[in-house]
Amino acid sequence: MPPKTPIRTLSRYLFRPQSSLHPRCQHRPRSQRYSSAAAGARLNGTVEYDTTPLLSHSSRSALSNAELPADVRQGQTKRINLYTAVNEALRHALQTDERVLVFGEDIQFGGVFRCTMNLATDFGTERVFNTPLSEQGLVGFAIGAAAEGMRPVAEVQFADYVFPAFDQLVNEAAKYRYRSAATGVSCGGLVIRMPTGVVGHGALYHSQSPESLFTHVPGLRVIIPRSPLQAKGLLLSAIHTNDPVIFMEPKVLYRAAVEQVPVDAYQLPLDKAEVVKPGKDVTIVSYGTPLYTCSAAIAAAEKDFGCSVELIDLRTIYPWDRETVLESVKKTGRAIVVHESMMNAGVGAEVAATIQERTFLRLEAPVKRVTGWATHTGLVFEKFIVPDVTRVYDAIKKTIDY
């Protein structure tokens, strides 16, 4: 052995970092975000997860949710983030239904977003296990298991990586019941979970929101929760329903969104949008992460323009609750749809078209869409592409002034 191996010599750089690297370093580790707001910004950068009205910061506000069953509303809550809420839902499902299986790439040690922490340890690797690295393989596997009576909850590591499984989802999962017809076989009980959306530095392949590709397919349910409380209840409903579900979790919210969540298990409806903030003059329809952007923009707009804005979380992106949206727009006469993915053929197109078909005579302004532009999510350009507080604020202004 030579006295010093190169690796040992080099490893000193890590433990005793060189002076030339340090002095100008004012960032905290992992703080490089290409979407940080400008220094003088008044609107952008005002999404505060600690105070946003979208999250239940107290036990009382969590338990006041009328959609929760009465016994749950009498129970306790716990302050947890979104990945822990997903974990608790999976844990409850595994505990109460032996048909439930949880699998995916790297999930055994907890998953890259920690959603499956300790599940393999507690429920064994027969029911909670790593799959080989093949999305088409693991999704097809899940469909087969579901068709034979299990309730598999399969994880695709990023929504950007679901495409090898597109055939399995579109041609198999979505059509299984219809094709099997009177034989009575379906793959209900199937849930495919995947993290979705931008995080500030995901670039082309860790930023996409491909929900509209799945809302164009009859037979699949597409769900995107906005918060820990919603994620727990909607995921349990997804596992319970006898239709295949695509469950997309906004990955920037995994740690950022923290709120009081009932300790007991509960389900939330899969056919209801939710009015998360009532208002009189404009309706904003959104889902997932952009709801927080909308909420911040609404706060500024209501203050500046003296208007009153209603915010609706679609929650179930397909099939979606037209009733709640139309009721709201009939009342306000103005509508804006906000989502991250690009405009053309996005969810906003369907919502806007439906609003125009059904409330045309009530409309005071054209339905506005605030969405990603017709481009990919270039690393250093993300903040210009995804809807921000300024763009939603400006859309409210324009819609009111129309």
């Binding site: 191996t5 690297l21 290409y34 080989p132 481009t375 270039g378």
Partner: protein, 463 residues
């Protein structure tokens, strides 16, 4: 038509051979298991004449192939042992001293860049990074065996391939900082390098998608090799990990590469882990090499810590790949992923630190080559200290230069999606420009070359 007159093509024969387009139709001298035309079975036939398996003898012993019972795995080729001693003195290391020193320098440079950039990411000066620790020899050794005109497709842990082919430290740093000098125009995550001059396609984060591209590119090269006989023949090369080899794309790629007999080398870096997933959860066969036979492909398993073995195996694979107009070759390079998967990963959540330390101590490509160099009197402690100081300075100089550069101009938000901007994009550009103009304080556009003004100008030019 029925099975009676099957039309299976003889392997090696080109579909256009009869037209005389190819320089003579060379037929393989050996007769393989799929090299006969299928004809109908005769009552006395001793071999299967079904079109799907043409050289199989009949047997009345029912014997399943049971790979799990096989005790011997496919052997791993090496040129020198762990102490840097050459095993076959006749063959030697098949590498000139100067080149050996260059390979060593590049491996050390890569490992220094990795450590510094990993640390820089931890300090928040970079959004992401991936190190090559333990796999430097595979990337650098194999890249040294290719012609500069060969076309390369990488996964994401092949920085050494870029370095060996001449990607400069400035180019690395410009990409990592996604600045205005980055050939990727600031669009890609760090380590997603690409270089047209070096014939390396730009890296995508998706796994295994590049493997069929390599097969198709190799077919293009095969056609071009035939159409332009005065230009030196080229091959395609594809790198991927053992995890990616589980994707459907891997199977599709190797199968079509074999059926079209394309000049392509598929290099699997088997480093033991796909993020957290150990090979025991990834496959049950004998590594990736065992699959080569299934595709009818020449295959070799190589010790990735032995850069001379890597180099020699790749050189020979390149020769094979160009034989008879072209054929695919699979090489499985064995390694251990010493680093975390990426800066987003903490591998001690799923493997013991002692396991990693053990591997670092036991064997790695840099130490092994250094031992050989020292044994040959080409290297000593002074030279080691010298080169490390020099390379560290070079990396830091490039680092500081790149960090100061502005971001690429904002027009690159939109251009490049299509060859020409679409009407829809132009509308979106106007909308964005309008927002930037009316809410200037909300956006920090100054860090982009030319700022909002340059973008506005770009919009006006494209109205």
């Amino acid at each position: 038509m029925s099975l009676r007159c099957g039309i299976r093509r003889i392997r090696g024969q080109q579909p256009w051979a009869s037209s005389g387009w190819v320089n003579g139709s060379r037929r393989p001298s050996s007769v393989g298991f799929q090299q006969f035309r299928s004809v109908a079975s005769t009552p006395t036939a001793e071999k299967v004449l079904f079109p799907g398996a043409l050289n199989s003898r009949f047997t009345n012993t029912m014997e399943f192939i049971r790979p799990a019972l096989r005790t011997e795995a496919i052997p791993t080729y090496r040129v020198m042992d762990q102490s840097g001693q050459v095993l076959d003195k006749e063959v030697g290391v098949d590498t000139e001293d100067d080149l050996a020193l260059e390979l060593y320098r590049n491996m050390v440079c890569l490992s220094i860049m990795d450590l510094l950039m990993f640390e820089a990411q931890r300090q928040g000066r970079l959004s992401f990074y991936m190190v090559s620790a333990g796999e430097e020899g595979i990337a650098i050794g194999s890249a040294s065996a290719f012609s500069p005109s060969d076309v390369i497709f990488c996964q994401y842990r092949e920085s050494g391939v870029f370095m060996q082919r001449g990607f400069t430290l400035d180019q690395f740093m410009n990409q990592l900082f996604a600045n205005s000098k980055d050939a990727g125009l600031g669009r890609n995550m760090p380590v997603h390098y690409g270089s047209h001059e070096l014939n390396i396609h730009t890296i995508s984060s998706t796994l295994a998608t590049q493997i069929p591209h390599a097969a198709g590119a190799a077919y293009a090269l095969k056609m071009q090799n035939q159409q332009q006989p005065d230009i030196a023949p080229r091959i395609a090369v594809c790198y991927f990990g053992e995890g990616a080899a589980s994707e459907g794309d891997f199977h599709g790629a190797l199968n079509i590469a074999a059926t079209r007999q394309v000049p392509c080398i598929f290099i699997c870096r088997n480093n033991g882990y796909a993020i957290s997933t150990p090979t025991s959860d990834q496959y049950r066969g004998d590594g990736i090499a065992s699959r080569g036979a299934g595709y009818g492909m020449d295959t070799l398993r190589v010790d990735g810590n032995d850069i001379f073995a890597v180099r020699r195996a790749t050189k020979e694979a390149r020769r094979l790949a160009l034989e008879n107009g072209g054929k695919p070759v699979l090489i499985e390079m064995m390694a251990y992923r010493v680093g975390h998967h990426s800066t987003s990963d903490d591998s001690f959540a799923y493997r013991q630190k002692v396991e990693v330390d053990d591997w670092k101590r036991r064997d790695n490509p840099i130490t092994r080559l250094r031992k050989w160099l020292e044994g040959r009197g080409l290297w000593d402690e002074d030279k080691e200290r010298d080169i490390r100081n020099r390379l560290r300075k070079e990396v830091l100089t490039a680092f500081e230069k790149a960090e100061k550069e502005k971001k690429p101009p904002m027009q690159h938000v939109f251009d490049g999606v299509y060859e020409h901007l679409t009407q829809e994009q132009k509308t979106h550009m106007e909308e964005l420009s309008d927002i930037l103009q009316r809410y200037p304080k909300e956006y920090d556009t100054e860090q982009y070359e030319g700022g909002a003004a340059a973008f506005r100008k770009f919009c006006e030019q494209n109205r």
